[in-house]
Amino acid sequence: MRQAKGAAVDVVGLTKVFGEGETRVEALRGIDMTIAPGEFVAVMGASGSGKSTLLHVIGGLEPPTDGDVRIDGRSLRELNDDELTVLRRRRIGFVFQAFNLLQVLTAAENVALPLVIDGVAESEAHARARAALDRVALADRSAHLPGELSGGEQQRVAIARAVVTNPVLLLVDEPTGNLDSRTGEKVMALLRSLADDHGQTVLMVTHDAGDAAMADRLARLRDGVVADEQSLPAGRDAHELLGEDLS
């Protein structure tokens, strides 16, 4: 089986079938995808194209029907349930559209949670949580409950929680879906800076062209296969762009 050397994520011949007989749905019909460490990849596609299923299978939330996913060289197929749980907890960070924060815990407690569950000593967990909140520019909100934060702040807390374990891979599902456009842009700029400044590998699923355009590479899913893929070249600064003669 082909395996890309040094890839953060390597997806090979991935298929996913739901149901049987008349209700059988082939959500993924042979996906190959390699993501280099530090790369920010966006997956776009209409609803029903398989993009959410792809994210779930790569994140170990759903088993593949066929093919394989390797995270940092480790095959998900070769892991038992306990090992898979540990991999999800330590090596993969998840960011969802609906933030999924625990409402009774403060921002800092939410962020520390993956470490606490993993048995990290409380003082260390909280120090790391504070550092992660600092990375998302929310150090001053650490004692707030999610209900006391704006939507954009809650999503940033969710991002801090996702990166507090220094995961190999950050999986992001429609991160701006519940945010107004300005706030959404700030969340996207934050994801971009995690890739640029911290070498965080990011795989994001979105239907929003503006969000997708923030990535380094774009994969377009259609009917469960990658229909098109493109690298987005490094840009120019605002001044150069605005001064360009477009006539």
Partner: protein
Amino acid sequence: MSVRQALLGLLAGGARHGYELRAAYEGRLVPQGRLNIGQVYTTLERLERDGLVQHERVVGTDGHGRDRKVYALTPEGHAELHTWLAEPSPVRLDLRNEVFLKIVLARRIEGVDARGVVDRERRAAFERLHEVTQARARAEDASLEDDLLLDLAALRLQAFLKWLDHCEEKLS
């Protein structure tokens, strides 16, 4: 873009001479605009003929000891400017679109795949949108003017990409 209204608007901030007006026009007001100094003076002369501006000769101020004409708005000029500001601009549908032309012709010409045209245009538009969104994300210290223009560029490109999705759906 009306050079005439732009110059009236710039003069509302105080009297200026031709080169200052050109620099202000190109620098902030119309980023992609190129205005030669001849156009500036022709426009100023017409505005003066229409009684909207008047000039005053300031002796020996152009750096070479020569006189300079400094222009200022008249009350009529102020009135014209405020009328223009108060009226909505014509809303143009801007339907002369090269991609539309390509798609329509590709459908008629044998051996050309219209969906291939859509795919290639989409890739190109995404590259541009990537540039714009990256520039926006990085330009934290951008002026309000630049920020608003980048918004315009990004939102137009997103609308164009959405239209390409519609094209793809309707062509299949």
